[in-house]
């Protein structure tokens, strides 16, 4: 094997533009669609206070007023303009999504790296804990924790993050394990590098792209989980999110009144963002390593974390 392949000689840095992953992404319809939608949503979130036709707390008419030329999506159960609420809703939904994904990534990533890198008893212990977490039903757990901690945005973010970290952990662990066995790591260790250095300088860069991909998917599921939490009446009532919009309408009998405009838009918005993020995330995953069998089945919502331990994971 050449010295270069063993990583002892550091290859010159290539431009990001020519990076294989980015090239693959540029050609992927999914990635483009996903990225575009995400950009638009982020833009709306940032500019909401300026581009929203009415204020977030500005009462402009009657409860459940139907759509009109002044209010394209009508009014909600408080007399607020739905179009404006939808725009302001992007902020909370995205904040929750990204923050919860960050929490999940931090916890899951750390657990995965530690378990994968050190192996042995640490690995077994951490994986057992992960497996227990997986088996506990999510929604009941979220309900109870929300009841204990109270309904605030910070708590919602923490709850989602704490429940979602397991899938990241498993995926990262598998990746770290394969990286650890690579020649240059072993050699670097022989040369006396500390574990910390190894992790930060060599393992992390290998794992980072995967973390990014998983995180993107995580944002999608976090946004999704937030709507579920809000629907069960556990969301932060002062934070206008799309989930809260659905819940407010439902709780104040929008169905019976026939106020579809208060219910339909938030649901569609959530779907669009989740689809976009999912496409982007899977596109990144596929671009990283077409052979990487990250079972998409494993990161599904109802199974909020990875599938139960499979025999081939136990080595």
């Amino acid at each position: 094997m050449s010295a270069q392949a063993e990583g002892l000689v550091v290859a010159p840095r290539r431009r990001l533009r020519d990076n294989a992953v980015v090239v693959a992404l540029r050609g992927s319809h999914q990635a483009i669609f996903g990225g575009a939608v995400l950009s638009v949503v982020i833009l709306i979130a940032l500019l909401a206070p300026w581009i929203a036709p009415y204020g977030e707390h500005e009462r402009v008419g009657e409860v459940f007023e139907p759509p009109s030329s002044a209010h394209w999506l009508g009014l909600d159960d408080g007399g607020f303009d739905m179009v404006s609420l939808m725009m302001f809703g992007t902020r909370v939904s995205l904040i929750v999504g990204f923050s919860a994904a960050l929490v999940a990534m931090l916890i899951g990533g750390s657990v995965g790296i530690i378990a994968g890198f050190f192996g042995g008893r640490t690995d077994t212990l951490l994986m057992r804990i992960t497996d227990y977490f997986i088996s506990i039903p999510d929604l009941p757990l979220m309900i109870v924790v929300a009841a204990v901690w109270g309904r605030s945005l910070r708590n919602i973010i923490l709850i989602i993050g704490v429940i979602y970290w397991t899938s990241t952990a498993r995926v990262v662990r598998a990746q770290v394990k394969s990286v650890r066995e690579r020649g240059y790591i072993r050699r670097t260790r022989v040369l006396g590098a500390s574990n910390m250095r190894l992790i930060v300088r060599h393992v992390l860069p290998q794992v980072a792209p995967l973390l990014v991909a998983t995180s993107v998917l995580m944002v999608a599921y976090a946004i999704f989980a937030e709507t579920a939490i809000a629907f069960l009446g556990l969301g932060d009532p002062s934070a206008t999110s799309w989930g809260l919009l659905i819940e407010n309408a439902f709780a104040r009998d929008a169905i019976t009144v026939g106020a579809w405009w208060a219910i339909v838009p938030p649901g569609i918005a959530v779907a669009i963002v989740v689809v976009a993020l999912t496409m982007l995330g899977t596109a990144i995953e596929d671009a990283l390593n077409p052979r990487l069998r990250v079972s998409h089945v494993s990161v599904r919502r109802f199974k909020l974390r990875a599938a139960p331990p499979r025999p081939e994971d136990e080595t």
Partner: protein, 550 residues
Amino acid sequence: MNARRLLCLIALALAAVATAAPASPAASEKAVKDGGIVRMGTTEPFDSMNPFVAFQAISYEVFTNVYPVLVQYDTHFKLIGDWAKSWTTSKDGLTWTFKVKPGKWSDGKPLTADDAAWTGNTILKFKKGAAASLAPFISHATKLSAPDPTTLVIKYDKAVANVLPQLEQFFILPRHVWEPIVGSAAKGLKDYDPGAHLPIVGGGSFYVTKYDKKGTTILTRNPGYYGTRPHLDAVGISWFANSDAMIAALKSNDLDYVDSVPQTVATTLGKSGDIQVIPGPGIEVRDFGFNSSPKKKKNRELLDPKLRAALSHAFDRKQMIDVVWRGLAQPRATLVTPLSSPYMNTKLQPEKYDLALANSMLDKLGYKRGSDGIRRTPGANSHPMSYGVITPTSVQGINREFAIVRDSFQKIGVKLTQRSYDATTAFTEITKPNNKYLDFDMMMWDWLGYFDPDYILSVVGCDQYGGWSDTAYCNPAYDKLYQQQGVTLDPEKRQQIVWKMQEILYRDKPYIQLAQLKLVYAFRNGWTGIAPPILNASSKLPWLNLQKTS
């Protein structure tokens, strides 16, 4: 399917009437007819059919109708006789003698005053134990006796003013059924599940023949009832987890009657023409409360009645009534409502919504605005006027209520943050630590009183720390008046005391009362003798008078 179902129901009803005992009155006149079943929908959850265990309102509704009670409320909310046809009081007010009507339990056994005496004495015997939840209805009673089958004598240790309102919920149980269950030590009394031993023997206008707390509970007419025969053969109560489903069932003729229609739906529901929507009197009063514990740690400026008076002008009741309750509520200034008239102090008016006034009052008190627009407390240790408001999720529409208050307060330079919890957690946050109420600043909740004002006046007593108190208000002068009204038998004198109590509360403002909600209910066309559902748990009259017309 509907026609067929209706036919079958009528067939069943006829069968029920045929197998039921005697004494049918004259044949129905005009278009009204006797018989049939009313299919009622509710979102109130059942808990138990055991009176020693149950606390939920709908369970009490059933008890009110299946058990004899001495007195009940009429449609003007005045007490009249139910099982008792007359009563006298001794001069010292310590002995009450009731003459009761003869009747039969649903299993045919005779209903006599002895059943009442036994029930009362059993409750008294175990009032510190298994019967504790029924003791408040004969509080201060010492002994019951039945000198003859139609006379009941109750002895009290104090001349109490609200004997009759209390007795209105004194359910008389069939001795022959419950005595073996109670045994000598009332062990396992609470574990007994009448719902599993159907039919539940009752002596009122109906008795329970089917019980399903997640589905439909059926009450069938008691042939031995001591009062006027009900027009209906049966009452069916179907429980729904949410009101949308219940209203949908009403619309599709799967229900005849819904005891509570959400305000947002009330206006559109009647449009179809085959449903009448009636905004009836309600007993729920929404309130905003200040932590009034003299020992509270932070934000002690909120204890100042002058500050409270200033803040009281920032409550936009009109908008709340419009947005949250769609016009189906009335502004209120006190805990006591017109349903308890003449005890509501009508001289007290809800504080005027006037932001300019509030602002100027706050300015005068020295609360200057900071650079961020939030006012700061004067003097040393100045801190911004930023407070948390605890709200329970169990109260419908509380989030909208709070949002309106928050927006108004923002305009007078006070920042409010919502602290939303479920009811239990909310109450714990209010009372912490350890029922000392040292922590919270403000809260929003509601009260559901009774027709007699005694209960609602008691919730702010000094002895209610950790009990009912959610403001930690404690005023010995107020408590003294409360004790006094409790033993004032002259209604006029009692009214004066009760009015004074309300004045004290209005001055001290532990609460800012917001509005009294109407209880909107709906019936499909084809019914007469309708009474507002607020009476369902306080009177047999609603289900007695109800009659089909088509």
